[in-house]
Symmetry: C2
Subunit: 403 residues, 2 copies
Amino acid sequence: MPAKGVLVAVTADVVVAGGGVIGTAIAWRAAAAGLDVVLADPAEGDAASQVAAGMLAPVSEALFGEGTLLRVNLLALARFPPFAAELEQVTGHRVGLRREGTLAVAYDAGDYAALMRLTAFRRSAGLDAEELDSRACRKLESFLTPDVHGGVLFPSDWSVDNRRYAAALREAAAAAGVRAVPDRVTAVLTADGAGGAGSADDVGGRVRGVALADGGEIGAGQVVVAAGSWSAAVHGLPAALKTAVRPVKGQLLRLRHPDGMPPVLTHTIRATVRGADVYLVPRTDGEVIVGATQEERGPDLTVTAGAVHDLLHDAMSVLPVTSELILAETCAGLRPGTPDNGPIVGGSGVPGGVLLATGHYRNGILMSAATADAIVACLTGQPPAAEWEPFGPGRFLAGEEGR
Amino acid sequence: MPAKGVLVAVTADVVVAGGGVIGTAIAWRAAAAGLDVVLADPAEGDAASQVAAGMLAPVSEALFGEGTLLRVNLLALARFPPFAAELEQVTGHRVGLRREGTLAVAYDAGDYAALMRLTAFRRSAGLDAEELDSRACRKLESFLTPDVHGGVLFPSDWSVDNRRYAAALREAAAAAGVRAVPDRVTAVLTADGAGGAGSADDVGGRVRGVALADGGEIGAGQVVVAAGSWSAAVHGLPAALKTAVRPVKGQLLRLRHPDGMPPVLTHTIRATVRGADVYLVPRTDGEVIVGATQEERGPDLTVTAGAVHDLLHDAMSVLPVTSELILAETCAGLRPGTPDNGPIVGGSGVPGGVLLATGHYRNGILMSAATADAIVACLTGQPPAAEWEPFGPGRFLAGEEGR
């Protein structure tokens, strides 16, 4: 029921706002489930998932006090390989899944003590972790500095080539009939009781579509907001949700082997160098990703001299041969962070029936497949997996739910 | 007198091979002197002069044992300002000449001792140099680290924005009637005694033009090879000249101030940090150039992780605020080095009357104006300035001159 003078150019069963891996995975799976889907994003190639290392590493990411997050991450890790296999089969493209495992190394004795404390915690949670002395670390990765104090192998922490994965998702979505609209969703629209038009925070009506930056609308009975750290800019969501998602800047480097140099790494390396964390993720095509900063600087995408220096310094400290690699690209992205570091997936407590899939912070790629499952379940009236229960939007809406 | 089947598409009085600042400055001045000039270069924007800091710094570059080079550099420095003024007047564009001077700083006591030895030498050569203690250095540049041991101000060592300067030269050359041919000169052609065609190292005939990579020719009675480190690839030059020019790789960084940050530098800073040299050159438009490596790696233009790390590390050591600047660009260029670090300017001893203007190594921008004067003198039958006498090609042709 469009407002006077506003063109509804497109209608669909579902509009997904946001063309990163989360939104695209949702759009693909929703279309595969028989829904008519529009994916709206102005610049899908600029999503945070383009600036990512593609680690699928819930074990070496697990921190004290994040038990429910660990459970949903493990669900996501189990889901990823069959999801990626289907994606590769549908598109005919490899996504660069690597299963060699992750080697966490500690540069000095203090770093080692911290790693051992985390390892004890991870083991107590039933996770697989193999302690290695310095020599055993270098047996796995011969270019590690002899100065490395020791390490832990996490065999089930893998990686994927984030850019290949994102490109394959876009191709699969298009092949499944998803229509792409290259514009930004500015508001979720609801129909109020009087039959007029309004946004969801004005009234309590059912969602009826989205407004676009160019002034058009897309009519749809269901809306999924999966716009990463930009989700907070979509009008029509409860105010508490807008403040629950913030951009956390990450800078990383894409290195490349010079012609003729054999690969310097096979495992993902996570290193702690005098308290600073750095990771190096090898790609099947010869790239090595080095990341990443975590900066609370708002929506700033500049690459800074200090961050590049520190990443190179820490990478060279544990893997000196890094200095010989080509610096192919420096980049910055914005991860959608939340107050409890957990994602926001589902529709609990959100007026109008709008679904959210954001706040994946450092684990957007890892969680993409399982998030798509959860959102498609919501869209088709099924219950999502129980692991998602703690991560609904309702947890940030105390006191607002009645609105 | 073209060979059968070869198209002479263009004729001119003079062909200049090489579209960096040396070649373009020569072309402009030759055209201004009334000659009909063709400038041949496949990718003028990729010249080494694009990857440069634009230092006009003969004093702080002066090294023991390079007295004749110092004299020609001082000639070049004196010539630069009026040349740049004419260029700005002709084109209406500013080239970013900065006359604040160069501050050389020493990071530790060893660096300071080395700087003092060089300063004594430079003063003995009559050069202007003002010793400053750490506090005085920081009075000139407030963002310098307090750790700086001391420094020397070289007030007559300036800088220019190399990219603005190169763009203005191209515009001035075009306005003066220089015709640009976007192709690479592969050979200098001479007319042999029998009237046929040959290249200069086959026979002793007079130059008659150049061959191009696309198979065409340019007919011209005078040829200037100003192709930087690629000059050695031009056929028809004596073999000894080809080996006299080698590429010396230089990597540098272009940093930029974030919006709203006041300029962190006014002088060019040359620093020695535990024996390693680094410079920081501020631009009027807010860029800061950090350079440069000197690497003997042949024609390799890759940017390496180790070089970027070391440049950032050394820059941040003397000017910690560098870490807050944006890393806008990393780049690599090839300087044309020679065995004695001096340029090769003129035609002494070269068969066929071919002129050379190459081998300017680290000082191509500084020497561009004076080199143009010297080559235009040769082209018009005048004697170049006496300072050029030691830098003719003949010094590398002992035993080959009779050929």
